[in-house]
């Protein structure tokens, strides 16, 4: 999961990395729970470039906080809607440095990156400003390497990077992180420091043994809805366009992504990404029923396209489960277009035809039929 900044900072605080005082607001607030001002109001959304998009604003009075909060909540960036802001005490008179730890998949290690300047994207810094090293994924090794790397910086910056590096090494290993980036790291003259911004990517595969991360999924309609769905239902479902017109019942992450890319290139508007994992259905309709119910929530969905390439899965059994699930979700009334290929195709054809669903062998023919079902289009 790519954590919201607020969640990232709370998690980091528990692992010895402090941030400026702040609170999370989901609606404008007159100021009762605000930390001491002045403030910075930051949209909580997991996309980069919030500053440039006008989603981070300073505020001097509590009224300004309320106005800015009202203005930012509900805004959209890259298809995501801002549902909350973090209101944080501004840090004044501090220098800005950079520190991150991330996976190095080629070296099977953790890369530490430090720089004396922070606050901008690190891609904008000259390469010689970045000090980096990759070491084994082990807490003591990582902490020692971070201290050593920090020793190449002077004075307060060096002291702050060493301390933050030691704490981050422990946090990275304990939380099984994929990336922790603090940019900027605010550094005061005496070497004391706090995390100005935090980017924290955790490992969904480690969730069962990371209870403090798993707790973030408690609100199944919260910011990590996709991870929560996967945790509960065992499949990957992402609404890629809330205004999308075509629901997709697909299996396989790569093939499903590719289908969405190709449909969009052809001017079609898919509603969702789905990797239902046909191999994991185990003869039950439960997962299919849930998926059809989610699709029914798409206000503009006019047709459902099924695309399954079955290497191993028996399409006959899949078709039977599908017809049964459709019967159990009668409120989802859209036309169904199916394209199946592989194992058990002939049985699948019989089952689907009986249920009034046309089956295509060819994806282009299926897409042509999908087009025919869209209102107001040729």
């Amino acid at each position: 999961m790519y954590l919201l900044e607020h969640d990232a900072k709370q998690l980091l605080a528990r692992h010895g990395i402090p941030s400026p005082q702040g609170c999370l607001l989901t609606a404008p607030d007159a100021g009762s729970q605000l930390p001491p001002g002045p403030w910075v109001v930051k949209a909580q959304i997991t996309v980069g470039g919030r500053g440039k998009a006008g989603l981070i604003k300073k505020a001097v009075t509590a009224n300004e906080v309320a106005e800015t909060t009202a203005a930012i909540i509900g805004q959209q960036a890259k298809g995501r809607t801002v549902r909350a802001v973090r209101v944080e005490q501004q840090v004044q008179g501090a220098g800005e440095a950079y520190i991150s730890m991330l996976l190095d998949p080629a070296a099977a290690g953790v890369r530490i990156i430090m720089a004396a300047q922070g606050g901008m994207e690190i891609e904008a810094l000259p390469p010689n400003a970045l000090h980096m090293v990759t070491v084994a994924p082990e807490a003591a090794t990582l902490a020692a390497a971070a201290e050593k790397l920090a020793a190449s910086f002077d004075g307060a910056t060096g002291k702050a990077l060493a301390e933050a590096g030691r704490a981050m090494a422990d946090a990275f290993i304990t939380t099984e992180a994929l990336l922790i980036e603090i940019n900027p790291l605010f550094v005061h003259n005496d070497g004391s420091w706090v995390a100005g911004d935090a980017k924290f990517v955790t490992d969904d595969s480690a969730l069962p043994r990371q209870p403090e991360q798993h707790a973030l999924l408690a609100d199944s309609n919260g910011p990590y809805v996709e991870t929560a769905l996967k945790d509960t239902h065992g499949c990957d479902y992402v609404v890629v366009d809330p205004a999308g017109e075509i629901a997709l019942l697909t299996t396989g992450a790569g093939l499903s992504m590719m289908l969405i890319d190709e449909m969009r290139a052809a001017g079609l508007k898919p509603y969702n990404f789905l990797d239902i994992r046909t191999g994991g259905l185990r003869g039950e309709t439960r997962r299919l029923i849930s998926v059809l119910q989610w699709m029914h929530q798409g206000p503009n969905v006019q047709v459902m396209l099924i695309n399954v390439f079955a290497g191993i899965t028996d399409l006959g059994e899949f078709a039977r489960l599908l017809v049964s699930a459709l019967r159990d979700v009668p409120e989802f009334k859209v036309p169904v277009v199916a394209r199946l290929a592989g194992n058990g195709m002939e049985t699948a054809r019989t089952v689907l035809v009986e249920a009034g669903i046309t089956l295509h062998n060819d994806l282009d023919a299926a897409l042509a039929e999908v087009r025919g079902h869209l209102k107001g289009r040729k």
Partner: protein
């Protein structure tokens, strides 16, 4: 790195053979021609599955059969330990189709296999195959036709579909390797460049990539470093995927400038790779030039 090229004499064990996937795929692999000589499974009342003799651990299986390759079909949280056992038993190549191995476990597994000189294919891999000879993992027979195209893929399903369409158009594969969709994986595209360069059956290479990580960029660099002379093609999924959300594969996650489509396409094209925008275009254009 040892060669991933297997044949019908390569001796293979299956760790986790008594599970649902182990029972099914030991049969399918054997029917395809894979020489599965042993299964590893906790001791029970049975001593064989699908005619394959069972052993309580890797060491005894390897000792009795001389196996050099393992396919591990165990749970995600048991995988690291299963790999340790296989490496300790002297296995030289491990294929791990299991999805959901924790990434920090994968870091340890990668160091372990690197230090022991073991070739690791996975995690979350659909497997690998030498078409019409033998396969390790789940690759469907309908997509496997023997030919001259080396194929590497992060995704299972997208590669099945691609292989199927290519086969329909008369294009077959030489050595097909599913590198898998995890962010930290064993063998990566770039590691396999020297192998495909010297492999005589291979006259060109197709990589099926997706957003997330730097595997495609590193592959492009490796093509230049090794002055790879055979034609290279690529298909990359996830061009329009939203930022900040994993798209089915743990590795398919973009954030900020990290892992995006544009950087991959530019790096590949800069290395002389022909990047296709659709499955149809891929199947048609490869058939034209190949």
């Amino acid at each position: 790195m040892i060669s991933p090229r297997i044949d019908r004499s390569t001796r293979v064990i299956l760790q986790g053979i008594s599970g649902r996937a182990g029972r099914l795929h030991s049969r399918l692999m054997r029917e395809y021609g894979t020489n599965i000589v042993a299964g590893v499974s906790p001791p029970k009342d049975i001593n064989e599955i699908n005619g394959i003799p069972l052993f309580p651990d890797c060491a005894s299986a390897v000792k009795a059969t001389g196996a050099t390759v393992s396919v591990a079909l165990v749970g995600a949280y048991d995988l690291l330990e299963a790999m340790r056992e296989a490496v300790a038993a002297g296995i030289k190549m491990i294929v791990t189709p299991t999805e959901g191995m924790p990434v920090h476990d994968a870091l340890k597994a990668k160091r372990l296999t690197q230090q022991a000189g073991v070739l690791w294919i996975g995690g979350s891999t659909p497997g690998m195959a030498v078409a019409e000879v033998a396969k390790l993992g789940f690759l469907p027979d309908v997509s496997l036709k023997s030919g001259a195209l080396g194929l590497m893929s992060k995704s299972g399903t997208l590669s099945y579909e691609a292989g199927f369409r290519l086969a329909q158009g008369g294009i077959g594969t030489s050595v097909w390797i599913g590198v898998g969709g995890d962010p930290v994986k064993g063998v990566r595209y770039s590691d396999l460049v020297p192998f495909y360069a010297q492999d005589k059956q291979t006259r060109g290479v197709l990589i099926i990539g997706e957003i997330g990580g730097r595997d495609e960029e590193d592959f492009a660099d490796a093509l230049k470093t090794h002055a790879f002379a055979k034609p290279v093609f690529a298909l990359i999924a996830g061009r329009t995927a939203p930022e900040g959300v994993s798209m089915g594969h743990a590795g398919a996650l973009t954030y900020g400038n990290h892992g995006g489509y544009a950087s991959k396409r530019a790096a590949l094209e800069n290395a002389g790779v022909r990047v296709f925008s659709s499955l149809n275009e891929m199947a048609e254009k490869i058939a034209d030039v190949f």
